[in-house]
């Protein structure tokens, strides 16, 4: 099973994503980081294959963390999960920084899993 790290300051979103991931049968959730800085630390300690990360978080935001992760770890695949997915500039910036896809909130479980399975 592929190892997934969830990064979101919202406890309820993290719980939703963890549930979708753990019930999929294909993925296992290795942890939950609440901001970009925690995500970078947990990427080192938990060694996930996939990171599902929010863009808009207090402290280090998702795009800043993505920029760092894309330099530090060429293997990990990052998918942004955000309410700002529909803002064209943010979406493009995320792809340019190396995100594999962007999932807009509100999301549906089928869509999240389809995107994770395509990675």
């Amino acid at each position: 099973m592929k190892r997934v790290l969830v990064v979101d300051d919202s406890l309820s979103v993290a719980r939703q994503l963890e549930k979708i991931i753990s019930e999929s049968g294909d993925f296992t959730c290795v942890g939950h980081a609440k901001n970009g800085a925690e995500a970078i630390k947990m990427n080192h300690t938990e060694n996930p294959e996939i990171i599902c990360m929010d863009m808009n978080m207090p402290g280090m935001d998702g795009l800043t963390a993505l920029r760092t992760l894309s330099v530090m770890d060429k293997e990990v695949k990052v998918v942004m999960v955000t309410s700002l997915g529909g803002v064209g500039d943010k979406f493009t910036e995320a792809l340019k920084l190396g995100a594999k896809n962007v999932i807009s909130k509100p999301f549906e479980a089928d869509n999240v899993l389809r995107i994770l399975r395509e990675l």
Partner: protein, 288 residues
């Protein structure tokens, strides 16, 4: 289930890859000249003129085109010619994808139809504001999108009340707030009762009962709901050419007597009467 732009829709549907989309965006960037670049290409002004206008923009809140006219670099007729040329030569993302071979013309039309159908649920209806505001269309869209998300995300049936100006923010069980910054500035507040907080939590967590959930999680679900609404408002605004940035949501706890509207702001209240008799309230604190 959210406001999207066409390129994002195509990737989500698996029609094009992210690499193809980035290539198409590069092509757009090369083709779609900014106003100043187009005026230079048309031989009407020089790069130095643009730089002077950009410098003047530091102290003047004016669009570049208007400033170029005010500074005498362009006549109004020339400015209109430049804008017309920009519009006539604009390369849309779908066309760019066809040009790079990532999409056929036939499939482009098919996908555009599917995209319009997907996004039609987010087309704004008319909402009357009781004040004149430079960004009136944005605030109307904000209220409209909030109503739509109450239906689609929370599955609550409701009737919108008339928008009114209020002078204080009343006390309630919980208020969640997010700030809009950028071209249109405001604070978005959603005021909910304890019962509505639980309804929101059930919908966000997709649970039948939330009676055993800690208060922290229940508050978080309301903040996440407004995060979804405000993110989608920012997306819709960007389609209207308005840049709106959002900060993470916070909770606000007005005292029992309510909280006065901050100086230099107007507060618009949009009551949302829920089917079961409860009412939630969207309040927009708009800078004068």
């Amino acid at each position: 289930m959210a406001v999207k732009f066409f390129g994002q829709f195509l990737i989500e549907q698996g029609v094009v890859t992210s690499e193809a989309l980035l290539n198409a965006i590069d092509l757009q960037d090369k083709n779609n000249l900014k106003l100043g670049e187009m005026a230079v290409t048309m031989g009407l002004i020089t790069a130095a003129d643009i730089q002077r206008a950009h410098n003047a923009q530091m102290s003047k809140d004016m669009k570049l085109g208007d400033l170029l006219v005010e500074m005498g670099f362009l006549t109004l007729v020339q400015l209109n010619d430049v804008i017309t040329r920009q519009k006539n030569t604009h390369l849309y993302i779908g066309e760019a994808l066809v040009q790079i071979g990532a999409l056929t013309s036939d499939n482009l039309q098919k996908q555009l139809d599917a995209f319009k159908a997907d996004q039609s649920q987010y087309v704004s209806d008319v909402i009357e504001l009781p004040i004149a505001s430079a960004n009136g269309k944005i605030w109307e869209m904000t209220a409209d999108l909030t109503y739509k998300m109450v239906t689609r995300v929370l599955n609550l049936r409701f009737r919108p009340g008339k928008c009114i100006i209020v002078t204080s923010i009343p006390h309630n069980f919980m208020l969640a707030a997010m700030d809009f910054a950028g071209d249109a500035e405001a604070r978005f507040l959603l005021s909910v009762s304890e019962r509505l907080q639980k309804s929101i939590a059930k919908a966000i967590l997709n649970e039948e009962s939330v009676d055993n959930e800690p208060a922290e999680i229940l508050e978080d679900t309301v903040m996440e709901f407004i995060n979804v609404v405000c993110g989608n408002v920012a997306a819709k605004a960007s389609q209207m050419g308005i840049i709106m940035n959002i900060n993470p949501p916070v909770t606000v706890h007005p005292p029992l007597g309510g909280m006065p509207v901050p100086e230099g702001h107007k507060a618009l209240s949009f009551p949302i009467h829920i089917e079961d008799g409860d009412t939630m309230e969207l309040i927009l604190l708009i800078k004068d």
